[in-house]
Amino acid sequence: MSPPNRNFCRRTRREALWEIGAGFGAVALTGMLGPSWLRAQARAADGRSPNPLAGQEPEGGGPTHRPKARSVIFLFMYGGPSQVDTFDYKPELYRLDGKTVQVPTFGRGGRKPGGRIVGPKWRFRPYGECGKWVSDLFPYLGRCVDDIAFIHSMYAESPIHGSALLNMNCGRIISGHPSLGAWVNYGLGTENQNLPGYVVMLDETGGPISGAKNWTNGYMPASYQGVVLRTEGTPILDLEPPPELRGRRQRLLLDHLKAENERHAAERPGNEELQSRIRQFELAWRMQSAAPEAVDLSQEPEAIRRLYGLDDPRTRNFARKCILARRLVERGVRFIQIYAGGGHNDDNWDAHGDLVFNHTRHAGRTDRPIAALLLDLKQRGLLDETLVIWGGEFGRQPTAEYAQGTGRDHNSWGFTMWMAGGGVKGGVSVGRTDELGSKAVEDRFHVKNLHATILHCLGLDPNGLSFFFNGLDQRLVGVEGAEPIHQILA
């Protein structure tokens, strides 16, 4: 890869983008955008705005950093897992079980001055060389802690699912902004044109609240939208032709199309889009075989199938998605998001009623496959260039939501997320919540800091990567910017 061209003064931003594109996959970029889009988007050079393709020197003059990660796997624990029952060990809390304390909370039930503590429902024990305390919900993941960086002091802008999901996926609680995966693909382009660069796998029980808004391209071109990959049946919408059009018949038709389109284009020089569209049909043809190949798990050896838990009815579904994620990473897909949990209520981590039932179910479905994914990536040497992210849109409160029972309400004031792999240290924990785990108090990190960290690990400058829209250089981390979480960077 040639170094990004940072001097684009006196050229329009889009022309610069175009030229830089030539450095690492011009076909990909121009194919996605099309020359007329670039042309239509050309803006007057302002000579100041940062290069959207990063590798960008921060304003103080620091060194350009090399990307550590090439791909991202975001394991989205939709509904909001409880931090104090998973990775944020609060020994005090057991003792307070059932006692009423003054601790302000803010959840779907509004603001409360305090409430009845629900003690953690699982034992914690130390794991690994780092001695990280992990709850018994995650016996498999416990063994991976030396590869994981835990962030215990996350906070988000909303304790309501809809807006918090948007916050976590698109950086804002207001709808209309591109999602993280769109930004990553915008910043880096694709490595494998036979597969989409941004893939989303949903839970069997349904999509998350707001559906496609969570993998939207927002104000970016439609090509940056996430593609929903189904793990059963046809993986991508309309990937499979109607029965009458399969195999050689389709090839005959495509050859005919190609010949006719070439004649048409020959009479219309100067319109590169025509050639580009001819190529898209060939790419579509290849995708028809590449995508089913990518999702075909029959090639996976028995040991791998067992490792992920493909043989266990409880873990089978999520295991399938985790194996797929690895296969997609191997095939150059940039951004993969897997939802653990879908729909509403106990179909996801949203434990308002029976905490034990809910979290046992969702941890039980995912613990082994996720641990296997980390292990598998590592043994193939892929973990170094793959950034794995685990977490939900928020966490849960230490207190009970209702007079009776163990249900916890939403909590965006403090929760845990973890990252592993390309660009982050293993065996570290940063930030702290208070003794109750109710809110982040030390080294607090906003969702923006998480996003900045992800972009940074991919070699992008979070405060430089921008998209011009509505009179502004829009950024995932907002116009005011955000720093990566330096403590966890390798």
Partner: protein, 991 residues
């Protein structure tokens, strides 16, 4: 109760221990902190909140909220407040709280009075990185093409002056200068397809093609072209095509977004208003006035209310309710401010070509637009009640609606007109009623109680609670199993009630019988109800009232009631439905007449029944004619009011508008008066002035004042923005290629003089969009071929000079609609609620409630044009979304055409193109007998041109292989071929 340790700690921290002793601050420690932490946003290049830290002087001056350090009481200084992170909206630095040690350094410094050395020693960082610039954008920035007006430009002189058309004169001037020869005129057939798609969004049919070519042949191109444009501009599909373009701009969607993504009640009425407005060629100024202030016309400018469509301007203000709406915000006030900002940004973009949004949080980076400007502009709209009617909550998902009637359709009257005409007949009837009153005896002797009410009786009724059984009011219904009770059913305490039988459920049905030995002439019903009442005589519904009353009332039943009576046993049946509050039902029935003169209705019934007996034959004939006329007027189809989302304000007084620092409602700055950005007020131009609300006004009139300015004093600016869009609609891209941003961050126009000229043309043509499109489309530039020689391509690859016509791809909607039209599947019905073409299971499962994700429409409805497809924010129609229909969350002045393999998958493998191909195959099979004829017919239909012989041979070769090598049936092969046609670049692109 055991308090956790941290709570104690917090209590200690909050001042109980008193401030620690002040230590001597060290400037060497403070300075790097200020430089590193504050200067990036409060330095030379970026001066947020007008607070600049460069030197001691600028620091002392402070920012938008005053000085950062209060010398009198340093402990209460703003600087300490913001770094303390107490108020999240004023927390600094915004990307995270400073480490404690750094806060402590700054705190000590501030408490010591923030000593800052003057001179070079106190100058932060290096001056190159943070030059001491004058504040705000300078004169240069103001002198920008988009904020200046010009008189109508003269046509260019010289070689171009020979051009017959002004557009060509301007374009040729530049082309000549560049030494480029424009492309020749395209073939008539190419122009027909280009024009038909541009103006209707649909391709021409073979019949239209041959008619046009024949006209060219017979009467010459110019005449045929004029005629074609006339036809297309009058087409019912013109309004649809224009409406779809406007819908992008105003981010039209039919749901609110976010978790519930609830449907906006009847918001399609705004879409229908758009279609009708374009169809009728509503002048640009009316189009602006009605959308921005249609609801204010009746109060502030009644002369502007169109008499033929008095409710249209109300529906136009659906404009304000199209946006995102959060029913469950974390911060209600902020969410409502966001809603308002969304309106402000969209309005500035659509009507002024201004990206005002970035001035919401700070002064515009590139344009001379201050935060003050932004909030002054906001003040025009800040009295709007908002989507939820001033509240939030999940139950308000449908929006705060107002009943509004549609414009009466042909053969339909408005309610007001019907009532006026009935009143005129009543006036004529009145003498007859007088005469009858004089002539009939005081009592006719036939008065008899048939069923007693609770006061006169009571009567015994059979009654049934809950849902009504089938056919229960019929005489033959068996009510033997029903309970029996005395009349007066309800709950104690209901005003005017007399309870005989308690009733507390939500529904009751009552039946009783009475005998007649002869049929009376008149029937009087006595009733009391709370709530909705229905009365049946022998199964015939004779009376109906909703709501409730608080005392007994009487009504003369119409002649249908008398007609329902029989000699012998009759059944009186009553039902009542309870809503909430009071609860009661009772009726009584007697024969005879209401004699109160004020009961005109009763006397009219009596006139119909007894007029013949008491009036002279001539008078009776006249009375009968009038009664019949009245009856037909009552049955006149009228446009009834029903719920609509329209603009509603809080009242005549708009609230005070503050500048909101960083865009946060919790950080109020100075107060601003309504105004337009100062860039538009150069050369002595004045801004709009809010009116004085007259007594009884329900709105402030501010929006109307702004709208009138946009089409008055500021008309040139809005006309230029619209003229640019018309060019964009005709040529595929604007003369200013960034139609939503005329500012410094947009691209300057390729032909600024031409753009000004067009703005004047639009104004001079009284804002007629149709005339403007006709004007543009009669230029040679528009009719040029879309190809050019190598020399031209080399010299002007981006076609900035329009030496050729810019080819473009079909839009998502044009693609889908073209498939429907050419295959014969199109249902051309217009208007009305949106439709739900079926979605694949794969798409539905992406929703969190897959079973409620989408609706169902009958198959023929599913084949309506694409602009009638339901627009759901969280579940976009995949085919349209993939082909670049924009996300409807934010205004989209120009679409991004993308080119990706997933599009090819959809157009090749998707079920919709496959069905269209099937329909097309069947269609051409019916039209032609042999394979070659079918192939040629399909090409004609899809591509709008005849199939060349060698081309037919190539297509037939494909069919041969598909049939012979692949064993497909002739029909199967033809279907595949048709699918191929729909995927050709020639079909996808407009030359």
């Amino acid at each position: 109760m055991a308090l956790p340790a941290l709570l104690f700690a917090a209590a200690l921290g909050s001042g109980a221990g008193g401030p620690p002793p002040v230590q001597e601050p060290v400037w060497e420690e403070v300075r790097p902190l200020l430089e590193r932490r504050c200067l990036p946003c409060h330095g030379g290049e970026r001066v947020k909140s007008r607070f600049r830290l460069a030197t001691a002087t600028t620091f002392r001056r402070g920012g938008a909220r005053g000085p950062a350090v209060d010398p009198g009481d340093p402990a209460r200084s703003r600087l300490l407040e913001v770094i303390g992170y107490g108020n999240p909206d004023l927390a600094m630095p915004p990307d995270g709280r400073l480490p404690e040690a750094e806060i402590e350094v700054l705190r000590r410094w501030v408490l010591a009075g923030a000593p800052w050395p003057e001179g070079p020693e106190g100058r932060l960082a290096d001056p190159e990185r943070f030059p001491d610039e004058p504040e705000g954008a300078g004169r240069e920035a103001l002198n920008w093409w988009a904020w200046t007006t010009s008189p109508k430009p003269e046509l260019p002189r010289g070689a171009a002056s020979g051009a017959a058309h002004p557009v060509d004169a301007f374009l040729l001037a530049d082309l000549n200068e560049a030494g480029l020869r424009p492309a020749p005129r395209a073939a008539p057939r190419v122009l027909l397809r280009r024009a038909t798609l541009a103006l209707t969004g649909l391709p021409p049919t073979p019949e239209e093609t041959s008619a046009f070519l024949e006209a060219v042949e017979r009467r010459g191109f110019e005449a045929a072209w004029e005629e074609l444009l006339d036809r297309l501009l009058a087409s019912p599909h013109y309004g649809e095509q224009m409406a779809r373009r406007w819908m992008d701009l105003v981010r039209y969607a039919e749901t609110n977004g976010y978790e519930r993504d609830a449907r906006k009640t009847n918001i399609w009425r705004y879409r229908d208003w758009l279609i009708r407005s374009f169809e009728e060629d509503k002048p640009w100024d009316r189009f602006v006035l009605e959308q921005l202030a249609g609801d204010e016309l009746a109060t502030y400018a009644p002369e502007l209310v169109p008499p033929e469509d008095p409710t249209g301007p109300l529906l136009a203000t659906g404009y304000y309710l199209l946006g995102l709406w959060q029913d469950e915000p974390v911060d209600v006030a902020q969410s409502q401010a966001d809603e308002l900002a969304d309106v402000v940004d969209t309005t500035a973009q659509a009507f002024l070509g201004l990206t005002l949004g970035c001035a919401r949080c700070h002064d515009h980076k590139a344009d001379p637009i201050s935060q003050r400007d932004y909030y002054a502009f906001t003040a025009w709209f800040n009295n709007l009640l908002g989507y939820g009617g001033g509240a939030v909550g999940q139950h308000l998902g449908g929006g705060f609606t107002t009943p509004v009637a549609d414009r009466p359709r042909p053969g339909q009257e408005s309610v007001a007109e019907r009532d006026r005409r009935i009143a005129a007949v009543d006036l004529e009837l009145r003498p007859f009623l007088e005469e009858l009153r004089r002539k009939v005896p005081e009592r006719t002797g036939e008065e008899r109680i048939l069923v007693a009410d609770a006061a006169a009786g009571p009567a015994l009724w059979r009654y049934h609670l809950g849902e009504a059984p089938a056919a229960w009011p019929a005489p033959g219904f068996d009510d033997a199993s029903w309970a029996e009770g005395p009349s007066g059913f309800g709950r104690e305490g209901t005003p005017g009630s007399r309870i005989g039988t308690p009733w507390t459920g939500d529904r009751i049905q009552l039946r009783t019988r009475f005998r007649l030995t002869s049929i009376p002439e008149g029937l009087v019903l006595r009733f009391h109800h709370d709530d909705d009442l229905q009365v049946f005589l022998n199964g015939v519904l004779v009376f109906e009232r909703s709501g409730y009353v608080t005392e007994y009332q009487e009504v003369q039943l119409p002649s249908e009631a008398v007609d329902a009576l029989v000699v012998g046993s009759n059944v009186l049946a009553v039902s009542c439905v309870q809503d909430f509050g009071g609860q009661y039902v009772d009726v009584g029935l007697r024969s005879g007449w209401l004699s109160d003169a004020s009961q005109e209705e009763a006397w009219r019934i009596r006139l119909a029944s007894q007029g013949e007996r008491f009036l002279s034959p001539e008078r009776w004939a006249e009375a009968r004619r009038l009664l019949a006329e009245r009856r037909s007027l009552e049955e006149l189809p009228v446009a009834e009011p029903y719920p609509a989302l329209i603009a509603v304000e809080r009242g005549p007084e708009a609230p005070v508008q503050h500048v909101l620092l960083r865009g946060s409602v919790h950080a109020r700055g100075e107060v601003v008066e309504p105004g337009v950005p100062r860039v538009f007020l150069q050369d002595g131009r004045r801004g709009p002035v809010p009116p004085e609300p007259p007594p009884g006004a329900r709105s402030s009139g501010r929006r109307l004042a702004l709208a009138r300015w946009l089409v008055g004093e500021g008309r040139f600016f809005s006309a230029r923005v619209q003229a640019n869009r018309l060019w964009q609609y005709a040529f595929g891209r604007g003369l200013c290629p960034t139609p939503g941003d005329f500012g410094h961050l947009g691209q300057p126009p390729t032909h600024p003089e031409l753009l000004d000229y067009l703005a004047w043309e639009l104004l001079e043509r009284d804002g007629s969009l149709k005339e403007m499109l006709r004007f543009l489309m009669t230029s040679e530039a528009w009719m040029r071929a879309s190809t050019a020689g190598a020399e031209t391509l080399e010299a002007d690859p981006l076609n900035r000079l329009y030496a050729r016509f810019p080819p473009r791809r079909l839009t998502a909607e044009e693609y889908r609609d073209s498939l429907l039209r050419t295959s014969g599947l199109l249902n051309p019905a217009r208007f009305g609620p949106s439709v739900f073409p079926p979605l694949p299971e794969e798409i539905l499962t992406t929703a969190s409630r897959p079973d409620q994700a989408w609706g169902v429409s009958p198959p023929e409805e599913a084949n309506r044009r694409s602009l009638y497809i339901h627009v759901k924010r969280s579940l976009r129609f995949p085919l349209l979304a993939a082909l670049d229909q924009p996300e409807p969350d934010l205004a989209c002045p120009e679409r991004f055409p993308t080119n990706v393999p997933t599009q090819a998958l959809m157009t090749l493998n998707g079920s919709f193109p496959w069905e269209a191909a099937e329909a097309l195959a069947r269609r051409v099979e019916a039209e032609a007998g042999d394979r070659a004829g079918r192939v040629e017919r399909a090409v004609e239909r899809v591509l709008g041109r005849p199939c060349a012989p060698q081309e037919t041979a190539r297509h037939l070769a494909l069919l041969d292989r598909l049939e012979q090598e692949e064993g497909l049936s002739p029909h199967g092969a033809l279907q595949l071929f048709c699918l191929g046609l729909y995927n050709l670049n020639e079909f996808f692109w407009i030359d």
